[in-house]
Amino acid sequence: MLRYILKRTGGILITLFLVSIFIFLFIRMIPGDPARLMLGEKATPEAIQAITQQYGLDKPLVTQYVIWMKGVLVGDFGTSLRTKMPVLYEIGLRYGNTMKLACLAILWSVVAGLIIGIWSGTHASKWQDYTGITVSVLGQAVPEFWIGLMLILVFCVKLKWFPIVPTGTLRGLILPAFTLGAYMMSTVARFTRSSIIEALKEDYTRTARAKGLRERTVIYKHVLKNSMIPVITIVGMQFGVMLGGAVLVESVFGYSGLGLLLIESINYRDYTMLQTLVLIFSLHFVVINLLVDVLYAVVNPEIRLD
């Protein structure tokens, strides 16, 4: 097991190294002089000179990368071009907000997705199943930003149940978290359903029934346990979609998190912030996927063996 984890972590480290090179080249890929891009058209030659030296832009690319990486490894991501504060400080202010939103969204979507999926899967080709399928098919086709707008319209403007601008309270988080989780809920429901239908055909299910176990015990003790593996995988894979969705949801609700920060830094051409945010997003994504792989290996010994 330890060997498997080490092997996977090694693979992830290589990917992260390549990702860091890609992100490093990020600012350098923008056509034109980065210093001028950062400072705008009206910058004085002295200011451009200063920025060029500050970022070591006159040094060879490899040296620049080493300098940048050294900073990144000790947590120094540079200063935001917009606020002149350390990038990490700005991110720290918003980080908790996005995490609260994402955790709440994952929580409700996995719970609801499992319930709908189990309900559909155990009533295959009956009306419960068709309702479940309809909900999940719709959930995957509706853009986050549109659900968000429609929810605000109904619950904040017409019914006045929730504040229009979400505050940090749980009450303010309900609509954004619902919006963000809708896609994940549909995906979890679909995978749970198909996985349960597969498991119901297995020999161990027949054995469990033949033993005279109650249907409820068969489903929850035998079928569900075995059908969770693909569901775990899909939750991990969907996490990335959710991080992207957070950008849209935060923008719709004006919720102050990393997604909104990303949009703001693009609008203000705050490249150091942008670079760090993209790095942080992909780091989260990759680490979550690693955790999912490990969890997968824990529940399914076959994976560990090869």
Binding site: I14, Q140, A141, I152, L243, G244, L262
Partner: protein, 297 residues
């Protein structure tokens, strides 16, 4: 020797034909997918004729009728310049569908060629290509597209480039997998024995085997591409005013949204219907190509 070659080709062609008729028969059983295909056909027709049939011009300003609700004259109401939202949504179909088809077609061709070569030759080439795909995969969905647009600058052309880059790895991996499977199959080895060139093997013998999965992915990718384009436009990085792009219309509607629901409602519905149909079609195609999957949704 020549006779043998002919035989192989003939049996292969017969195989393809029977597979195609099987596929058609299975596809017809998927009622929702057939319905979705029909709706998509209607949408394509709309995309072609939209400028001719739209009751108003897309940029026909009418300051006497600002932000009016749906009526007999303006089915979907009017926007902040008194433009007819129905006409704009109709014409938005052309933008979304053409971007969807174009980006995914280009991405699937580039990705498939990369996958074919990587899977067939293996070695360093394969290693490099798959590493690049890994790196692109390490960026969560939309974030990659946003990052690319941030580098290239806003605008629909750059969105198209971003979406293409974003779709390529999916096809590269898909085709690479099939290629590695088919590389050692009997008919590919037979083709090699009779001296077929690598190019002929790749494009005449291996590629057809990958086509079914490419088609399924094609339909699903188009809905992803349309959604990404609309999302980027919504965030202000895609289409620029006064283009009648659905995402951009939704974005503009936010200012007026407390007083008029219709402005945000109809462009959103257009996105939902289009994406829904491509998803349903993709699911139906997948089930038709592999009937064993019938129970899986």
């Amino acid at each position: 020797m020549f006779k043998k070659k002919k035989e192989i080709i003939v049996t292969e062609e017969m195989d393809m034909n029977t597979r195609f008729s099987d596929f058609l028969r299975n596809f017809k059983k998927q009622k929702t997918a057939v319905a979705a295909a029909f709706v998509l056909l209607v949408l394509v027709v709309i995309a072609v004729v939209c400028y001719k049939v739209a009751p108003f011009g897309i940029n026909e300003y009418n300051y006497a009728e600002l932000l009016q609700g749906p009526s007999m004259k303006h089915w979907f109401g009017t926007d902040e310049f008194g433009r007819d939202i129905f006409s704009r949504v109709l014409c938005g179909t052309r933008i979304s569908l053409s971007i969807g088809f174009f980006t995914v077609t280009v991405a699937s061709i580039i990705g498939s060629v990369i996958g074919l070569f990587a899977g067939y030759y293996g070695g360093i080439l394969d290693g490099i290509m798959m590493r690049v795909a890994d790196v692109l995969y390490a960026f969560p969905g939309l974030i990659l597209a946003i990052a690319i647009v941030a580098i290239l600058g806003p605008g629909l052309t750059n969105v198209v480039i971003a979406v293409i880059i974003f779709c390529i790895p999916t096809y590269a991996r898909l085709v690479r997998g099939t290629t590695m499977q088919l590389k050692n199959s009997v008919y590919v080895r037979a083709a090699k024995c009779i001296g077929a060139s690598d190019m002929r093997i790749l494009f005449k013998h291996i590629l057809p085997g990958a086509i079914p999965s490419i088609i399924v992915q094609y339909s699903l990718s188009i809905s992803g591409s349309i959604m990404t384009t609309a999302s980027l436009s919504f965030l202000g990085m895609g289409a620029m005013a006064p283009t009648p792009e659905w995402g951009l219309m939704l974005s503009n509607s936010r200012t007026y949204f407390y007083t008029c629901w219709h402005y945000a409602f109809f462009p959103g519905m257009a996105i939902v219907i289009t994406v829904l149909c491509f998803n349903l079609l993709g699911d139906g195609l997948r089930m038709a190509l592999d009937p064993k999957l019938n129970d899986r949704a």
